[in-house]
Every structure is written in structure tokens, then in C-alpha cells.
Symmetry: C2
Subunit: 478 residues, 2 copies
Amino acid sequence: MSELEHEEITPQSEDFSRWYVDVVRKSEMADYTSIKGCMVIKPYGYALWENVQRLLDRRIKKTGHRNAYFPLFIPESLLKKEAEHVEGFAPEVAWVTHGGHNELEERLAIRPTSEAIICSLYSKWVKSYRDLPLLINQWANVVRWEKVTRLFLRTTEFLWQEGHTVHRTDVEAEEETVKMLNVYKSFAEEDLAIPVIAGEKTARERFAGALRTYAVEALMADGKALQAGTSHNLGQHFAKGFNIKFLDEDQVEKFAWQTSWGVSTRLIGAIIMVHGRETGLFFPPRVAPVQVIAVPILFDKTRDVVLEQLDKIVADLEETVRIESDARDSYTPGWKFNEWEMKGVPLRLELGPRDLKAEQAVLVRLDTREKVTVPLDRLKTEIPRILTEIQQAMLERARQNLQQNTRTVGSYAEFQETIEQQRGFVLAPWCGNPACEEKVKEETRATIRVIPFEHKGQGNCLVCGQSNASVVYFARAY
Amino acid sequence: MSELEHEEITPQSEDFSRWYVDVVRKSEMADYTSIKGCMVIKPYGYALWENVQRLLDRRIKKTGHRNAYFPLFIPESLLKKEAEHVEGFAPEVAWVTHGGHNELEERLAIRPTSEAIICSLYSKWVKSYRDLPLLINQWANVVRWEKVTRLFLRTTEFLWQEGHTVHRTDVEAEEETVKMLNVYKSFAEEDLAIPVIAGEKTARERFAGALRTYAVEALMADGKALQAGTSHNLGQHFAKGFNIKFLDEDQVEKFAWQTSWGVSTRLIGAIIMVHGRETGLFFPPRVAPVQVIAVPILFDKTRDVVLEQLDKIVADLEETVRIESDARDSYTPGWKFNEWEMKGVPLRLELGPRDLKAEQAVLVRLDTREKVTVPLDRLKTEIPRILTEIQQAMLERARQNLQQNTRTVGSYAEFQETIEQQRGFVLAPWCGNPACEEKVKEETRATIRVIPFEHKGQGNCLVCGQSNASVVYFARAY
């Protein structure tokens, strides 16, 4: 940006959707491209994704999974091997029909998800119970031909990780499915400062081809829910479609049990919409592209010495925190403060000639605006401490928001009113009938986000009044 | 692998190509898939790629570049904006023609390289000299419809990084092009232990659309060369095709100058073919997926205590080195030694009951087979030291091989004989005429690998005899 003027961000309270597009574009996280539904993730946004990747990858590896890379292409015949799967994904597939100047004999799907190609290989790799469990993850791009798209939240091409595991028993597969859901839950809460609600999806929202789908759901600042990660128990559906069998210890050949689970660049949308402020972003320190922005206060006489000292301070802190300094001449300190606040940097370090004389620097938190003066020789311990505090405060704030916006209702009328006026999660009894679920969706645009693991009580179904219905989480969602 | 028998590796000296496929497949680095020319990179191979990525990414960032992510798709009209570029790549493009059930209005190329899509965005991002230099890199998959493919070396889909930079002047662009070539050179030598020859490509081997292409070339153990990385000075070719202009400090609007540069999963092929042994792999410690394999020597009576101690030792070393222990019951220590040697692990740690009593472990180097006994409390310093030694020895050995197989010839007859019987690099004068270059290729299958930066002498052209021809590097290549 070469303009000296700040570009305006539509205030969040005025128009949440416009605010979202404004902060994403003006902070230079991402932008539209000329290709329908495809975005470009710019360096500032990609740095956030790299941090998300690194921290989640560590958790995926700690639980015994290893990364691999499978082909982008899935021959049409492979995609068709699991009936529900192809039915669910066919409408969204981008098809390659030509290679160079020649038409292909069989058209190739660009992976919308990789079960089909991976299962075709697993059917060769898995022979004996000794080959199990097979615990593999992939970081990759996938393509789904979406009609309505939104930066990060729903794009034709997106980046994600997809785990694909094979097990000896149904019990093991179920354990893995829930374990990885919990990995997502801890990751969201501890690294992204996003509290989530975990539970099972209804049949309507189930992954195409899965036996059961679990999800973690987060609440955005506008009261809409966002599915932040899913974990699927695939049962033996794909094993039967792709013939994945193993010789068990008892010498009997058996079909294997499988899982798959994934999170995507959607998470970036969640980070923005959970933590964003009225006119800017706010990144949790653990994943923030820049944790500390150093801004020098320059006057002609002391300019050189301040810059020189700031360079030293930054170089010294670089091992400990992600710090950058903004020493650009063409902008005032005030302009820079605004700029980096808009970009969601959690902590600012200011250094002027008077600070230098006193051998101190000023630190300013983005959340509380609290200013503290810290001796230079204590920055290295103080900054990480404050960053940890900010991270905790962000989680706490998001927890409170989730709690305050999770409501229990007594009647369908109350449900409709709550969804319409307050949004948030609404806990209400549901009998389990897809027709009741559908009716709620049509009339209120709210969907069942999850059937919680922890029993939330029982009552008469919101819609049909049937008794002994379990309480589930409803919300309007992205 | 559940078999107790070792699968045979064709000896390298017997049949290099079969050896290559054997070590790649039997070490479980990668395998073929049912999709023509596409491979699957299995966890052991992908772990190597992750190390390669991490170390190169660090170098790319240290030189001021930031990562981003651009779309997989390039509309046909964009690809056509630079005439030479589309001519070069069109025969290799995979085309998407359908999204879901609908035919697209304009077909989309799957990126064979991303200049076109990136330049179309840069034309919007670059407005002023203050926006320059623009230094962006991308890690991504690309697709080229290849006729003949080989695991890692030439596959329809492959993984790579591609840097795309924009500069104010031709001098800056040239500096960047050479700087990144040197980053590749240092990376190959210091991290991969692969010495390379750097220089300029001839017009025939130039990147489609570039002004000048530079490359680093390595020598494989079979005497064939392999292009390990390329760096292109794009001049203003793309800036003019895509209208990338900036307002310079003198208020004059000018076309920008650009570069692009990349290395790919091909590098893994180079690592295998430079360092591989007669019947197995050999990975340089800095990138080895497993640096140390710990093998317990188990007897019934002492089994538990040895395993318990080994677990402790491994847990303690894990912070310092990439160590794994192979405590599988169904295999003998001897079998495991062979297995991990085949898989190229540079150092083995053995621990038996007698070692334990003496509070020591045995370390065995893969290159020298040298066995040393090390007190347990010194493992943490000794292992990194030995790994560094192995890394240096590998580079030294590869350097000697390169030196011994770089020959100067006096006549075309001698050239032909050398290329046919000894392979390696052959230094010979070339007048600069593409016809002479073509003749050599047709008659000997050798190509000019690079025109070296350092003057290697002059003489009469190998083919036409013209005087004052500069000496260049010829070789048969992958």
C-alpha cells in the first residue's frame, strides 16, 4: 500500500459481512482472483496458515500419524466405488478431460477429498493385521465447485489436512475418530483461543459415505456457528467399496475399519470472526503472523541512535518471539499504530529517545490498551509473559461469549424468536426425525450443529412434541 | 511389510535404473498409482521432503521472501498472454472443462507453473516503486502432462516451490536471479551434501518466456547429470504481457522486471542417486527422515531392562536428533540392521545387556561401518558430532566423484568416446550456435548442461571448429 490514507474498515457492529471482507482484504490477508470462487492467500494470511499448520501438525504427529502425499487426480471409476460418496461429491467435482492436446480416455476428478484415491492404495498396502493401524495424514489442496463462495470460509479451492486411518476393529476406529476430534478441540482452544462444542452430526449433515460424523463447532462474533473441524468414522463402507481386507491373527480375512478427519483454511475465517474487533483483526499470540510490532518514535536529532538501538532489541528478541519493526519513513507513528492494530498484532513495542535514555520501552496490549513501561533488559521475559496473558484473556473472552450466547428455550415460538433476534446456540429437544430437523431449517434457517456427547437433558421435541427427545445444539451457521 | 524375508534390491552396479526403482519402492519412499505418471509419496519419502522443505524454506525466508498461495487454476486466456510461455507449456497442460455437471465457459489449465496467474495479480498489486521489490514464494503442486515418467524425477504431478519476484530495474532482477541460484547451490551442498555446477542454460534449454535461465546441475552415481534447480531472469517479458507497471520515483510509468525460480521433489531423486549404495539408500544426516535407528539386542532374561533403558535413552535423545527405535519382536537384530541400512539411516545405535552393564552403547556408521563404543552419558554430544562428520564425508565423497568425472577433451571423437564410455561431465568448447548443440545431442545424447560463470578456457568449437569458442559443460542427463 502506498497510500498515506488509511482505508476505511466498515465497523463490525454496522455490517458484519462487509466488515469481514474489509478486514481480510485491507489487512492483505487474502483477495479475490479472476477465477470464480478461488482466492489468493497473501503473505500476511499465509503466515497465519503456516503457524496453524505447524502447531496442528505437531499434534497430529504426536498422536502417531505420519504425513504422506497422494495424487491430486481421482479417476471417475474410483470415485464411483462408494455409492453414497460419489453421490455426495459429484455435483461439486471439477473434471479434467484433456491432457496436452489429447482427450483422456477416462476423465479425472480433482480431489474434493481423497478417500477414493487413498482407499484404492490402502487396498494394496493393507494385507495383515500387522500392517494396522495405518495412520496417515496429508496436507493438500482440494477443489469443490461451490456456487456461493466467501473468502476463507467457502472457496472453490482450499487448503486442508485430511487424516486417513485404517484399523482392525470397529472399536479402534471409533476411538480414533473421537481422539482426533479431541485433538481438534484442544488445538482450537489452546492454540487458536477458540472454545468449541463437540458432538455428533445428524444423518443429514454426515460426510458422504461415513457411518458417523463428529464435529467441533465454534461461535462467531455475529452469533452464527461455524464448523471448525470434522472427524468421520467410516465404518467398513469404503473398505467394502475398495476391498480393503486383512488377514487377522485368527487367520480369517476381514474387512478393515476406517476413519478420516480434517480441518481447512476455513479455520482462518474462524480466527478472524471470533477475535476480530470493531474495526480490525486480533490474532491470538500463538498463531499471530507478527506477535510484536516495534515502532520507533523518531525525531531528527535522535533518529539514528533510536533506530540503531531498536534494531538491536529486535534482533535480540527474534529468537523468542515473532517481532517485526516498522521503521518506514513515510508514515507517522500514529498511522503505524492504527495500521498494525487493524492487522491484529497483539502487542506493540514503542521506543523513543526518552525511553532509550531511561533504558526502557513501552509495551501496549491490543486488547486492554494497557501501557506498561519495561526495562530493556527485562523485555525478553516480559514479552512472552504478556503474550501468554493475552492468549488466555482471548480464550476467556471467547468462552464468555459462547456461554452468554448459548440459550435453552421452552417452546418453538421462543426458539424462533431467539434464533431470529439473538442468534447464538440454542439448546432444544429433538426427537431424531429428519423431518423435524428439516422443518426447523426451512422455517428458521437454523440447523442442528451437534448432538452433544454430554447429556444436556431431555424434553418434548421442539417441532413434533414427541417426548423423551434429547437436547441438541441448534444455530444458524456459515 | 509383514514378510520376514528381505526383498531383493537389484545391485546398483548391475542395473542402475532397476536399482533406483527398487530402493524407492522397497524402502517405502514412494510408489506408482493407477493414475498415469502420478506417484504416491509414502510417509518415509514424505518425511525426507518435509526436511528438505523446512531447510530450504528457512533460506528462502532469510533472503527476505515470504510465502503465499495462488490458485491451482489458470484460465486459458491468461496462459496465452505471454506467447513463448504458452507455446512451451501448452503441450503439457491438463485442462479442466467441467465444474460439477456444467461445462465451463472457458477451460482452466491446472498450473504447470504459476507465472500467468501470479502476474495477473501482480499487475494489480504493483503500482508504485514503493511496492518493489515484491518477493514472494509458493510451495505447491503442479501438473505437467509428461509422456515418460519416473518416480520423483519426472512425474505428471509434482511438488515444488516457485519464487516470483518483481523489481524496479534490470540490474536488481539479475541480482535476484543469481542470488537465488546461489541459495540453491549452498542448500544443495550444505544440506543435501550434493556439490553442484552453476551456470547459464543455452537458449534451447531456457524456460519458456524467460530472458535468461540459470541452473545448478548435479552428477548422479551413474554419471548422468540432473538439473537440481533453476532460476530465471524473466526480463520484462511477462510485465509486458500482463501489464505490470509502476510509477517510478521520477514520476515515469515503467514496466517492471521479474524473476522466477524453483526446485521440486526431483531433488529427492538427486539425493537417492548421488548418495545411494550398492544395495540401498544413504541419506545425508541433515535431511534424513531417521538420523539414528536404535536396535535393542534382546535375550529372554534381560529383555525388559534393555527395552526400558533404550526407551529412556531414545526419549532423552529425541530433543537433539531424529531417532527411532525398532523394538519389533518378529525380527532379529541382524534383519533390522539390513532393513535400516537399506533405508539409508546414517547411524545405528545398538544396545544389549552387556552394553547396559558397562553403561555404554555401540554406534555404527553407515558409510565406514566403523563401530564405536560410547558411554551412555556422552551419547548426546557424540551422536551430533558423528552425524556432522558423516554429512561432511558424504559431501567430500560426492565432490571427489564430481571432480573425477569431469573431463576435458581435445576432439569430438574423444568427446563421443568419453560420453559413451565414461559419462560424467565433459568440458568442451562450443561456438554458441544452436545447430552445433543440436548435432551433439542427436549424435551423443549429451546436452549442454550449463555455460559456467567461471571462465573454463576457450578453444575451437567441438562440432564446427570455429575458434574462440567458450568451454561449456556437456553431459547426458535425466
